[in-house]
Amino acid sequence: MSEVMVNPSGSVPPPAPAKPVERRDRVIIRFAGDSGDGMQLTGDRFTSASAIFGNDVATLPDFPAEIRAPAGTLPGVSAFQVHFADHDILTPGDAPDVLIAMNPAALRANLKDLPRGAEIILDADEFTPRNLQRVGYSADPRADESLAAYTVRELPLTTLTRAAVADSGVGKKDAARAKNMFALGLVSWLYSRPLDTTRGYLEKKFARAPQILAANLAALNAGYAFGETTEDFSVRYEVAPAADFPAGRYRNISGNLALAYGLVAAGRGCHRPVFLGSYPITPASDVLHLLAGMKQFGVTTFQAEDEIAGIGAALGAAYGGAIGVTTTSGPGMALKSEMIGLAVALELPLVIVDVQRGGPSTGLPTKTEQSDLMQALFGRNGESPVIVIAAQSPSDCFDTAIEAVALATRTRTPVILLSDGYLANGTEPWRIPAVADLPTWDPGFATTEQWQDREFTPYSRDPVSLARPWALPGTPGLTHRIGGLEKADVTGAISYDPANHDTMVRLRQAKVDAVAATIPPLAVDDPDGARVLVLGWGSTYGPIKAAVQAVRAGGQSVARLHLRHLNPLPRDLADVLPRYDRVVLPEMNLGQLATIIRARYLVDVISVTQVRGLPFTSGELTGVLKDVIASVD
């Protein structure tokens, strides 16, 4: 096969006159293999090529917590699902149209998600008796009826790859490792994807390993050529570029990357250096890695000895006038609680990014969940209000990060930014903002001149925002002492006075509540006066919106509202909720926001919950919404 050459430019899929091309409006592909098989990379490259081709894309990586679980076992299966379409899509898709299974474990782990009629491309070389037995197949599923509902393409991917890379000079092991590129080439042919971005990527990645580069390029090209020549595939498909995007320059972006960019943008916006204090933890670590590579923008990253030191250093930097940020996930959030409480008492700006994952305890490190909401809102000793906001999609992490920094600096209060594993690792196209359009603001430090005629009072307050002065060490005339002990109103001196404590507790709460006045009016998506409202927050945005579209496509009415601000809640929420007969609230927890909504507004929301470590499918939410709509008719 290797001598069959592909169109060398690769920029435009070569015409294949021998095979008819069928047009599809959208396709969902899942790449699945061992955690060492490079499935994340394969999916990422396919996504990138599709995005550049002009499709809308949404992705869902799903990988084990172990770096290299035992090869060929079910726990070691790593998968990457990509949904690409000629129109605006909101989720990585409910069920794959195509499964690429690199071994029996990948087949077995993913088969349950495949709808009837789906296509399976599998590496026949891996279907040995031993490999089948390892994952509990007593009989070869290819030989009995288990795969009868699917179109199965059995291809000797390993053998084909080895043959294709024979001339590159790599050893047998490296040769076999290139089979993900063979599969990528084949699927790229099947869906008429260009290869040039992947070629460019490989050339950069393996610039110092020419043999490995040659092997990967050979495998990629051979996979593409195989599609053209083999009789296993009689048609290929095409998904046209999406037409409904606003004009502009786009890129594909993950939530963690968007978050890192947003933090840099925020530092630039208020002309302060960004300081990240962090401790490695999945899935937040990437933000640390990414910001560590952005030092040219004045960003300092500090890998601390533990989660507490990470946030402590961020608070110390904030005290000195930097943009103090800490990032964490799962149990790391619990460890930071006491320091968040100190930041509440000190009334200093601090941004805490919680990339939520499955809990409790170590829980599901690589799986998504929204179960830290109550912890973010209340998880500290004492009355300890903080601002809590949540990102709704991967690219939205950029705007949310800027807003978190702006709110923290403006109110001198900790802000918890909730992301989650789905947003962190998932990707979508992002219209790249013009740098000149990004917000700028003045952090408004206290100055010697402002206080030259009077004694500095560190706990006096702005009459509107109730924020206290941010007086940096080094400022003459403003020396003062602050701490975790209760402080006297205005002067900030230690005070154990009962009435003063009551005043201060209420002041700190009022300061956070005052943020609600700055939240723009809610934009309820309700084109035709629906009786049912679906309310969401965070990463359920995509599945909920997709479900709402499906319901409306079926001729029914449903309204939709998505919350970014979770503390304080928007003021007009109290007006919106009673307008509807039913309020449905899907969450990837056991109903945490539902509890808040019921308590605050006395609205008996219908709480829809799942905690499988994966996002809702739009299909299941569509069903839920239809049932609720039927109940009010």
Binding site: T197, G248, K295, G316, V435, R481, G483
Partner: protein
Amino acid sequence: MLAAKDFKTDNEVRWCPGCGDYAILATVQSFMPALGIPRERIVFISGIGCSSRFPYYMNTYGVHSIHGRAPTLATGLSITRPDLSIWVVTGDGDGLSIGGNHLIHALRRNLNITILLFNNRIYGLTKGQYSPTSELGKVTKSTPLGTLDRPLDPIALALGANATFVARALDSDRAGLTEVLQAAAQHSGAALVEIYQNCNIFNDGAFDTLKDSTTAGESIIPLRQGEPIVFGPQGSQAVVRAADGGLRVAETAAVDPAEIVVHDAHRSDPTQAFALAHLADPHTLQHTPIGVFRSISAPCYDDLARRQVNDAVAQAGFPETGAGDDAFAALLAGRDTWVVD
């Protein structure tokens, strides 16, 4: 020129009457003018405990933080604010028990901070439980039958963490404490100063052996840079190298003067300082070295961290504010973009 009174605050000092902390506060306040640094560029950061009230009484910037975590705040501040003189005040419970992890990492990173560890060998603020430095078998409220865990020596711990400046002083020895503070303040990098401090309520007299003029001479081993280590009446005792390579105390008259160890805090090898730390009997405090154990020069984490950022900024060509708008736009765009018309 500032004076000691300039560093006093209006806050009423609320340690128990007779507490050793008063003496330390007075010494620090009178030493501060010698630093030659404006008050607003001095920051005291503390954790929780009696000693950690210290910042309230210093007319500088100050943060009274949470238990054991003062070094973490100091870390973020020292990395971002090289213009400040940063002091951490902690105690044996705050710094060695709940905050032990942060202490060792602040020391090994060699941040530009000075850590004053007030060691009274007891928990005072929580009213009398034993601490990580309490002597073995100590009967306290929480250990009515005596403690079971061997005490920690802050000096040995700091040396184990490869701290670049390690010293010990006594609360009541104003001259000695001032001398050590001076050396610590001049040190570039992290300095740990252990200050033996009497808690007259819950552990009164813990250091009397070192203070009573009849016993102090034989108990204290004064460390003087470049001098043979002798102590006791007329220098009757000396520290010599033992046959096993360690250190031991001997009668000066009985040893060859050439055998007497000459104190050198600048040795990069910490083993001699470590051996000196272990001469002290943790129960009786006999043979307790006082002074500077170690003072070596090494790169500071915060300097290096700033250099990495500054170099990156300078390479990007925008030394004032970091890379410019074009560079930021290029960052946001990444490698693979497409245009929708």
